[in-house]
Amino acid sequence: MIDMILSILLGSLTAMVPIVLTSTGAVVSERAGVVNIGYEGILLMSALFGAIFAEMSGNPWIGLLGGAFVGMLLGMLHGAITVYLKGDHIIPGIGVNLLALGVVAFGITAVWGTAGQHQVPTNFRIQPLINTPYGGLSPMVLVTFIIVFLTHWVLFRTPLGLRIRAVGENPEAADALGVNVEKYRFLATVYGATLAGLGGAYLSVDWLGVVTKEISSGRGFIALANMVFSGWNPVRALIGGFLFGFFDNLSVWVRTNPAVSQVVPWQFVATLPYIVTIVIVAGIIGKVRPPKWDGKPYKRE
């Protein structure tokens, strides 16, 4: 029994990383007023490029940084369209998600010559920080905790954080006080996408160790749901992320457990994280309030 609890606990921490990183980035981006629904595509593309960077350099950490770099570039694209060109916030995100479907499917075939799936060799993957009989603990779990608490501190305890929140809550007032609204919105967007990029590379060079067309499997959107759940708060997003990680992990555990899989078809268990996401978001909306200028382009009068 203890074995089972420990292994599910470790598994939840492992599964939590990409969701928490993306949610934390999304919190910063939306606190500054920029909605990005392209995280799913960012996760996908940085999973692909993370593996490419890791295998080219021979170092999985370069892979993680490479994934973050790809996320950063995509964030700059989104920021340029939404912040500087005053475009719609949703459509570029849809575009990035569609682009990712093509880039990843094409990339796997073009780079490795295999269709649909590429296994990342073990020596190009991040090694666990601690190995336990119940599974390994990735150093990225630790990194995630540090990023979350650091982001929380900056967002709520520093002048920089105040400015980020001000441009999302009341850009007119921030502008009047001499804060460069566009600059902070752009930087917050790039930060959000960079964290998602890190989370995407974690999928391929650390946790799952493969690149597939479906590797993100909705986690970019689950992260957005988790952001809503958190009330746009990084530390609460950490708790929510653990909860989603738990259900994600539970569904895999139940699926592979013969006692259960003989009674319930595994496909129904696999729907669990998605059902939980909808139910939780449906249950808490109305109780949380997004930043006032979230998703609205700001044009100086």
Partner: protein, 340 residues
């Protein structure tokens, strides 16, 4: 009026040019010959009567799923749940044509099941304020696994492990060209686009949908119930993508079933979003952008055989086109850059 029409057309065209150009760069970087690849693609798509039949039959489901997105976008909603709805349309068509061997019943079943799968997201949006982008994506995944269960289990074909049970011969849609994959389904898709145009611009319901999409507060002031409009836009959208799934199994040889891993019904929902955006969320624009995307799809197979380029390449081009469409004032921007 003409000027209003020409600018969006130019911008979509420009986006296509950008997509093709960046696609060429990606091809060159990946070690392929872009000219050879594109030549093969064009030849495969429109170089013969068979190519044209493949282009139009590939356009059929994505015109329908594009209508799903367009109807919602006109109502101010981003319904990206067409993907999941397609699965249920296909499954309903298989089940009901096997009970009643009649094509009309199959099509109606597809539409009704499509509508039913679209309903939860509508209700969550209207009564719980859940953003449709989150709910529809989650519903897509729930639909995927549920459909996979049905495909592998109750609907599995005892004679052929590669697909589900087939649509009976008497319930299949007639072919428009012998030996091709082009069937009456294409005509149905075009009719659906024209009907959608009529509903949106020439009926009271369409006016209500567009008014609440344009300005929800003003619409409410004008006596329109935006909640009702949102639910209707999801339901109409569900009909279209349900139809896409049904026509795909009833009117697309050779399988007349759902093939292994749902390969022949997967991805149309996402392609439709691109088609709709390039067609400027206008049903008539969608017919043309749908045929263009259909040509890309039909040509891709030929390009893979002829030039050895992975057919997924066209998805990269499609993606770049959609990102380019998302850039506001693309035409003015390019004009400014060129002038410099």
């Amino acid at each position: 009026m003409i000027k209003q029409l020409i600018k969006p057309l130019l911008e979509s065209f420009l986006a296509i040019v950008i997509g093709v150009l960046i696609g060429a760069i990606v091809l060159a970087f990946s070690g392929y010959n872009p000219i050879e690849a594109y030549a093969a693609l064009v030849k495969g798509a429109v170089g013969s009567a068979y190519g044209w039949s493949m282009t139009l039959s590939s356009a059929t489901p994505i015109i329908l799923t594009a209508l799903t997105f367009a109807i919602s976008a006109r109502t101010g909603i981003f319904n990206i749940g067409a993907e999941g709805t397609v699965y249920f349309g296909a499954i309903a068509a298989i089940i009901f044509t096997n009970i009643f061997a009649n094509p009309i019943i199959g099509l109606i079943a597809g539409m009704i099941f499509g509508m039913l799968w679209a309903l939860p997201a509508a209700l969550l949006k209207v009564y719980r304020g859940v953003h449709e982008v989150i709910s529809t994506i989650m519903l897509n995944w729930i639909a995927f696994y549920t459909a996979l269960y049905l495909v592998l289990g109750p609907l599995a074909n005892p004679d052929d492990p590669n697909k589900t049970i087939e649509v009976p011969v008497s319930a299949r849609l007639p072919l428009l060209m012998k030996g091709s994959e082009l069937s009456l389904a294409f005509i149905i898709a075009i009719a659906a686009a024209i009907i959608t145009y009529y509903i949106l611009w020439h009926t009271v319901l369409g006016y209500e949908l567009r008014a609440s999409g344009y300005n929800e507060r003003a619409a409410r002031y004008g006596g329109i119930n935006p909640k009702r409009a949102i639910i209707w836009s999801f339901l109409l959208g569900g009909i279209m993508s349900g139809l896409a799934g049904a026509t795909e199994v009833m009117g697309r040889p050779p399988s007349y079933a759902i093939s292994q891993g749902m390969a022949n019904i997967y991805g149309y929902g996402f392609d439709g979003i691109g088609v709709s955006l390039v067609g400027r969320n206008h049903p008539i624009g969608i017919i043309f952008s749908g045929i263009f995307f259909g040509a890309l799809k039909a040509g891709a197979t030929y390009m893979q055989i002829e030039a050895g380029v992975p057919l997924e390449m066209v998805k990269v081009v499609q993606g770049i086109i959609v990102v380019a469409v998302a850039v506001p004032g693309l035409w003015d921007l390019v004009k400014k850059v060129v002038r410099k």
